[in-house]
């Protein structure tokens, strides 16, 4: 949730300055921090034994499709309103992180409660 809050904060910062000139450094820092947190969460998740990965991917892939569509709609609104250059790049990357982040949350929440078969004794 921290990563999600960071990416939304970056989007709010940019959106509140557009269409005027906006210093990109704060938004870039928030984007980078969010991406690092997300990557860290995924790395920690990969180390969990017995995690229901099949269920995680089954749920996350469909959520990813839905949030890719929603992110695309938001991106279209920005492009239609002539956002360009550095702000567009940062906003686009923020939307990519957002579109990945929510499906990860949904997939993780489902998978953590999914019954996992114990590993065979001779493994």
């Amino acid at each position: 949730m921290g990563s999600l809050a960071l990416i939304l904060a970056g989007g709010i910062y940019l959106s509140s300055h557009l269409p005027q000139h906006v210093p990109l450094a704060p938004a870039a820092v928030l984007l980078a921090a969010s991406a690092v947190l997300l990557a860290g969460n995924l790395a920690l998740l990969a180390r969990v034994d017995g995690f229901a990965w099949a269920k995680f991917f089954e749920v996350a892939k469909w959520s990813l499709l839905a949030y890719a569509v929603i992110s695309g709609l938001i991106e279209y609104s920005f492009v239609r309103n002539h956002v360009s250059g550095g702000p567009l790049v940062v906003l686009t990357l923020s939307l990519v992180v957002f579109a990945v982040h929510v499906p990860v949350l949904i997939g993780f929440t489902v998978a953590r409660y999914w019954d996992v078969e114990p590993a065979p004794a001779d493994a």
């Binding site: 949730m1 999600l4 809050a5 939304l8 904060a9 989007g11 709010i12 959106s15 509140s16 300055h17 557009l18 269409p19 005027q20 749920v59 469909w62 959520s63 839905a66 569509v69 929603i70 709609l73 938001i74 279209y76 609104s77 920005f78 239609r80 309103n81 929510v102 949350l105 949904i106 993780f108 929440t109 489902v110 409660y113 999914w114």
Partner: protein, 204 residues
């Protein structure tokens, strides 16, 4: 986004035979057609960039979002919490799949059309006297999004997946549904703030 708080917290239901549940789709496929139509309409409205249709989509979407959040959280949720477990399960399996489609749709429409409307009316410009209220609305929406996307929607999907199992675990469902109860206060406050901000923007 929010769905109703439906505490299915009856461990005694797990002691006997499985509680009967109607068959349901976690994501209603027919509803996807309606969602697609709405999104195509949104793209068309943004493309044409006319004030009336943009305002319509933003107001209609925002009103639906606010009303659903407040009604489900503070009216329907407590009522369902007092229903017998079988009735609660029946209601949940009928309502929550629809909410999986409805809430992301109204949120996406509201936000995209809202951005377009702010551009059209000039309130995005930092020199506009209402610009501060627009920024305030961004912050309110940001809080709503963190709660809804980070807490509630994952719980919504996980509850439905659990209910699809031959023997759902009531403790898992209870734990997930508690998120809705805890979040109801924050969501309610943010939605009231939204009403204050939006009426201020509309009245100048």
């Amino acid at each position: 986004m929010a769905t109703t708080a439906v505490p299915i917290d009856a461990p005694e239901a797990h002691a006997g035979p499985p509680v009967e549940r109607p068959d349901f789709e976690i994501v209603p496929r027919r509803g996807l057609i309606v969602v697609a139509v709405v999104f195509v309409g949104l793209v068309a409205v943004i493309a044409t960039n006319k004030l009336w249709p943009v305002t319509f989509l933003h107001v209609a979407g925002g009103a639906a979002w606010t009303t659903l959040d407040l009604f489900l959280g503070f009216v329907l949720g407590p009522i369902i919490g007092r229903m017998p477990v079988p009735a609660r399960i029946e209601f949940t399996t009928r309502l929550m799949p629809k909410m999986v489609l409805i809430m992301p749709t109204v949120v996406a429409v509201t936000l995209a059309a809202g951005w377009q409307l702010a551009n059209l009316t000039g309130t995005l410009q930092s020199g506009n006297p209402l610009h501060g209220w627009i920024v305030a609305s961004f912050i309110v929406v940001g809080v709503l999004a963190v709660v809804a996307l980070g807490l509630l929607e994952p719980a919504n999907i996980a509850v439905l997946v659990e209910l699809k199992k031959p023997r759902p675990n009531p403790a898992v469902i209870e734990g997930l549904m508690k998120r809705f109860i805890y979040a109801a206060g924050v969501l309610g406050a943010m939605q009231v703030a939204t009403l204050l901000i939006m009426t201020k923007l509309a009245s100048g």
